[in-house]
């Protein structure tokens, strides 16, 4: 009787490590398929798709590209809603910014484990390297991911397996432990050498992390959103809008999102029905969304700020159109707010 073909599901982020990990296991005759999770915070694509000046750049999705290089299927899973709880209440806290890396890893491996069971796969592969990331890839946190995800010893980390206790696939002889690796720490040279050996010449090497939550400016905007709402909550639209425009909060009860260029203006126009919005009529100017609950006086202040960011900033009067969420439109004539009155601390 021949042994059954063993199957592994590999977490594919689009970066080099997960690509190598999958490849190392494929080399041992394992059938591998990829899985990728969309949390809403992924760095992939978005801002490129929005900003006009970036549209000519290569917009490939790295996870898809990696899967294609490896010749494996890729399953992309929408985890937007489930992921909220990870960002809002991370049991293990945050990293340097609002990145809940340890909870996030546990969550993703857990989702992969569920997928593995539903699809009758045998084990899970990740590209983790011990000591590489300060939070989720430490000697003491790697077992936490294993335990909390439920995956237990069906979680194989081929790039650093030799530093870890043997997992089920190794003990059962589905994979040969000797051929797995012993990468350690932040030095990227071994990965680069292995990539060369496999003939991978074009790959992504994300600097900070795989998502916007590791970005300081982004995290500040998210924290501001939570503070203004008085609760830690978000919808997909909120976190998408944190990626575009200039954010100004003149008062606790409202903020303005000011388009910085044509692509952003156009993208934000798609939110006309959900937000109060401003458009300059008498001059060229940005498209602006208002998030919050403004009074009539606040609308006036907002309009003066918008005028400040228009080409009419040095004129006495600027005419604007204000649109409300119930479809009402108003025309307003305002004098642009002097730049000295735009306080630095308004910039989120």
């Amino acid at each position: 009787m021949t042994a059954p073909q063993r199957k592994a599901v590999a977490l594919i982020s689009g970066g080099l490590d997960s690509m190598l990990a999958a490849r190392v296991v494929m080399q041992q005759g394992i059938h591998v398929e990829g899985i990728n999770f969309f949390t809403g915070f992924c760095v992939e694509g978005h801002t490129h798709a929005i900003r006009k000046k970036d549209q000519s750049k290569n917009k490939r999705n790295n996870a898809l590209w990696v899967a294609e290089q490896l010749g494996i299927k890729l399953h992309i899973v929408d985890v937007i809603d489930e992921y909220k709880d990870i960002v809002i209440n991370p049991k293990h806290g945050y990293g340097q910014n609002l990145n809940p890396c340890l909870d996030c890893k546990g969550f993703m491996v857990h989702k992969a484990w569920e997928w593995m069971q539903n699809n009758e796969f045998d084990f899970i592969v990740t590209g983790e390297v011990m000591g590489q990331r300060p939070m989720s890839q430490r000697k003491d946190t790697m077992p936490v991911v294993q335990k909390e995800s439920g995956a237990g010893d069906r979680l194989l980390r081929p790039l650093c397996a030799q530093h870890l206790p043997a997992t089920l696939p190794e003990r059962e002889g589905w994979v040969d432990r000797e051929q797995l690796l012993d990468f350690h720490g932040r030095n990227r040279k071994p990965q680069i050498a292995l990539a060369k050996r496999f003939g991978f010449t074009d790959y992504a090497q994300p600097a900070g992390g795989c998502c916007f939550l590791t970005d300081k400016a982004y995290s500040t905007k998210l924290a501001d959103l939570w503070q203004a709402r008085g609760e830690r909550r978000y919808e997909l639209d909120d976190i998408m809008l944190l990626k575009v425009g200039r954010h100004l909060r003149p008062q606790a009860n409202f903020k303005l999102i000011i388009g910085r260029e044509e692509g952003e203006n156009k993208f934000m126009e798609g939110y006309r029905k959900q937000f109060i919005h401003f458009r300059c009529v008498s001059h060229r100017g940005p498209f602006v969304l208002l998030d919050g609950t403004p009074s009539d006086a606040d609308i006036e202040l907002a309009a003066r700020i918008v005028a400040r960011y228009s080409q009419g900033r040095d004129d006495d009067q600027v005419t604007l159109e204000v649109g409300f969420t119930d479809g009402r439109m108003h025309e307003l004539q305002v004098s642009p707010l002097p730049s000295a009155e735009i306080h630095d601390e308004w910039h989120v």
Binding site: N36, F38, C42, E44, G45, H46, H48, A49, I50, Q55, K59, R60, N61, A63, L64, W65, A67, E68, G71, I72, K73, L74, H75, I76, V77, D78, M240, G270
Partner: protein, 74 residues
Amino acid sequence: MSRHELDARRLLCPLPVIRTQDAIAGLTQGDELQVVCTDPGALNDIPAWCRINGHRIVETRQQDDEIIVTIEVG
């Protein structure tokens, strides 16, 4: 063989790909799915996803600000 349409307008990548994938999961081989999107990234991503998962792109075209991808389920 049946024809289906998917509205993925205003969704940013990878959401159009995810919706395409989920729609195809409910179709059978030979069915045709037409996806309408507005994110230009879909022009790369949907065909890439189809290539690796064994579906055939019948046509991609751009019409004003919309991208229309027609897929034959493999």
